[in-house]
Symmetry: C2
Subunit: 138 residues, 2 copies
Amino acid sequence: MKKHELEKVSDFALGAENLGLAPYFIGKSYLSLLNDQEVDIYNVTFEPGCRNNWHIHHGCGQILICVGGHGWYQEAGQEVRSLKSGDVVYIAAEVKHWHGAAKNDAFAHLSLTVPTEGASHEWLEPVTDEAYNKLKIQ
Amino acid sequence: MKKHELEKVSDFALGAENLGLAPYFIGKSYLSLLNDQEVDIYNVTFEPGCRNNWHIHHGCGQILICVGGHGWYQEAGQEVRSLKSGDVVYIAAEVKHWHGAAKNDAFAHLSLTVPTEGASHEWLEPVTDEAYNKLKIQ
């Protein structure tokens, strides 16, 4: 999907291609820092089919505020959840999960974290094409 | 403006009429709690012309994430600032300010605060019709 199309997925700034986290994503995503005072807020835009690897936030949680398109969120051992603009997801610390776009739609969510001393992210195995393509919710 | 019209201002839940803070607002607003873990997140929807009084957050700041319509934000001694969906405003603690809808448009922003021990809100004088109606940015 072209950059000018991804810019229309949400009203928030698209930012630059998310090269720093690319090793932990399948597909292309964009990242834009919106605020870094008290709460770190990024806009993350995923191309259709793009998702991050399973991962765990240690020491603090994360909040997703969905702002455009159609995405998916899954916690280990749970059914996948369909996300659209207006949905808010709280991800507690230590919960293994992944998130990203649906198969045929781009997706944008804001990512919020409260800077916390000693907090870290642990990146785990990818969501394989086999597992992803089985997902049924559209 | 009717409730079903205000529900279309943003993709986020409108919630109930904001009666708790009504003494500190001119005009009608709606409030919806979206998250109360790590960061308190509310959707605040203002009818056209609705705005809150001048106020100060003591002990912690506030972040506004604009999600629909057209609004205004002003800090004491500064020019008013026009806000639209996709804008993000960081309001530092101890800064006197107000926010609300533009004259002829409804407005919705998410309000974010990190729960902080000893933090408080100080409500001050209203933004009078005389001052508000002089605002030029549309």
